[in-house]
């Protein structure tokens, strides 16, 4: 072994130590970055709760189901805002989900590629409009339009429903819900589009070959196949709607009561923080606003994590069925 003649073509000796060091350093730096980002997530949760702690101690959990917000009388409760958050987001979702599914079906099943691509881009651009611009449009154009046309119409024809009773109002829960609808349509429709485009061709072709119409193939094959993904899309849209503060602040009108009707002003967790935090007059008011923030954080984390879990399970199931 030791008698091997030196080979003139042998590569120069490699500096193994140097390589090892470079790799360890690079991997270490990348790992530190990843852990740092995880730490940011953790400290966001910690900090928000720590800041809200005095209010949490003062009011306890009953804060969550206390109705009313009056800094002068030292009355603070989150119920009005939780109600406002849930109502605006759920309405937005009820409107946006069918629309998004329909848009996604149009883009994947009906439109030819030349038409689908630009329309898909335009729907994506809807998501690119900054929320403050959408809010500006909402407060100056859309709100007044809702108050003078849509609300009287709903009141005339569906006024027997308590949600459409009462006088129209420029700022209120209904325009806020509609602005949120516009914001989540691009999110949910983009995910649905992706889901429908992944439905295996042979499944839908098989259904068509058995004599079903295109709609029946969509309803019996594509939609069931995409269903878990669609529910994840809905949850992601919901998370976005829960967390939106600026556009909602601009159009919802900062109400302090729960109303049966959707016309009068209300408020959501995010929009109340955005509109009142800078002007908070006492420490306890600021801490109560942070308590609202803590509730908002919990709600949106739960929504988002459940969406992730559904997506993960869906991907795993698909991988198993594909392999």
């Amino acid at each position: 072994m030791s008698t091997v003649t030196p080979d003139p073509l042998a590569p120069a000796p490699i500096d193994r130590q140097g390589i090892r060091f470079g790799d360890v350093l690079f991997k270490g730096v990348a790992l530190v970055a990843a852990i740092g980002v995880a730490a940011v997530l953790g400290s966001i949760a910690y900090k928000v709760f720590a800041l809200a702690w005095p209010a949490i101690q003062e009011f306890g959990l009953s804060f969550i189901w206390t109705q009313g917000w009056n800094p002068n009388a030292n009355v603070y409760g989150a119920l009005v805002f939780i109600y406002g958050t849930v109502v605006t987001s759920v309405i937005a979702l009820l409107l946006a989900t069918p629309l998004s599914i329909a848009i996604a079906l149009f883009l994947t099943e009906i439109a030819p590629g030349r038409v689908a691509a630009p329309i898909a881009t335009m729907v994506e651009l809807l998501a690119a409009i900054p929320s403050v611009v959408l809010g500006l449009w909402g407060i100056l154009v859309f709100g007044p339009c809702v108050a003078s046309h849509l609300e009287p119409f709903l009141n005339t024809w569906f006024g027997f429903l308590p949600i459409f009773s009462g006088d129209p109002s420029q700022a209120g829960v209904l325009p806020a819900a509609l602005v949120l609808t516009i914001m989540i349509i691009p999110i949910t429709s983009a995910i649905c589009r992706e889901l429908f485009s992944r439905v295996p061709r042979d499944l839908s072709d098989g259904s068509l070959a058995l004599g079903s119409t295109r709609w029946e193939a969509i309803r019996r094959v594509a939609i069931p196949y995409a269903a878990p993904g669609i529910s994840a899309a809905v949850l992601l849209g919901l998370g976005r709607a829960f967390g939106e503060a600026i556009a909602v602040t601009q159009v919802i009108g900062a109400g302090n009561t729960i109303n049966q009707s959707l016309f009068p002003p209300g408020d959501t967790l995010g929009s109340r923080i955005a509109s009142s935090y800078i002007g908070a007059s006492s420490a306890i008011e600021a801490q109560s606003l942070l308590y609202l923030g803590a509730i908002l954080l919990v709600i949106s984390l739960v929504t988002n994590v459940s969406a992730q879990l559904i997506v993960n399970r869906f991907q795993k199931a698909r991988r198993v069925s594909a392999g």
């Binding site: 470079g22 790799d23 991997k27 730096v29 990348a30 790992l31 970055a33 990843a34 980002v37 940011v40 997530l41 400290s43 966001i44 900090k47 928000v48 629309l99 329909a102 848009i103 149009f106 883009l107 099943e109 009906i110 329309i119 729907v123 809807l126 690119a128 409009i129 900054p130 929320s131 403050v132 611009v133 959408l134 500006l136 449009w137 407060i139 100056l140 154009v141 516009i182 349509i185 119409t213 709609w215 992601l236 998370g239 967390g243 503060a245 601009q250 995010g270 923080i273 955005a274 935090y277 800078i278 942070l290 923030g293 908002l296 954080l297 949106s300 984390l301 988002n304 992730q308 993960n312």
Partner: protein, 297 residues
Amino acid sequence: MSVAEIRDQYDITAGSSNLRRRRRTEKAVSAVAILSALFAVMLLALVLGTVLFKGISQIDMDFFTKPAALFGEKGGIADALIGSALIVAMATILAVPIAILVAIYIAEYAGPKAASFFRVMLDVLNGVPAIIVGIFIYGMLVVGHGQSSVYGAMALAILMIPMVARATQEILELVPRHLREASLALGMPRWRTVYSIVLPTAIGGILTGVVIAVARVAGETAPLLFTSSITQNQISFDVHNALPTLPIRIFTLSESPSPDDQAAAWAAALVLIAFVLVMNIVAKTIAGRKRKSLEGG
């Protein structure tokens, strides 16, 4: 006689009322889908059209070169433009290297368990409402130190990191395995492979992600509300103090009852939206060219 009619003569199911009903359903559903897509496009046109129509008349040279109006006189957005540019630039400088490192860790080094942990973590961070990020930076830094545009940039950076990291990680995983293997087989260390082979191949996709994140963050209002909103309306480059920004300017102007302020809000919104749209078009172009080069190669 058209081809369709000839075929129908021999179609034994054509006469059945059931099939006619099913075809009617199909037509109705198609119509609903087409209308929905039209509706979305119309919404976009409506919002963009309104902003353009109401904003364009306000825009002149003064609008870009003068700071906000104090009283009576017609003001501009120069101060807010400078503030936005500085804050977004600082946020990008902070966020992009961290985000790319995180993506490299996930795509190149982490095992499957760790990779999926960090992926989920990025998605959860992406789902944290922007206003909560604002509160976080407020509680960490603004309390005690006062508002500063650096803190605003940090809040925006927290929003950017998950967006850029996820986009980068996805694109890194698309880089063909054989490129890495060829480089490693030639004796290149792992980090040199990532640095001189994987990243240059993926640069188009990374840029797309960065540009889209910049466009999104430039329009964010909520995090700046707590970190860089109490400002003097004068032109300033001092990043240690709070600087006025375009989104905050639009937000405050939009709540004003004065028609002059509202007109200025529309014009500022037009500038912001034009920037966002241009960035999105840039991102599309980069993405398109990159896809072509990947397909070609």
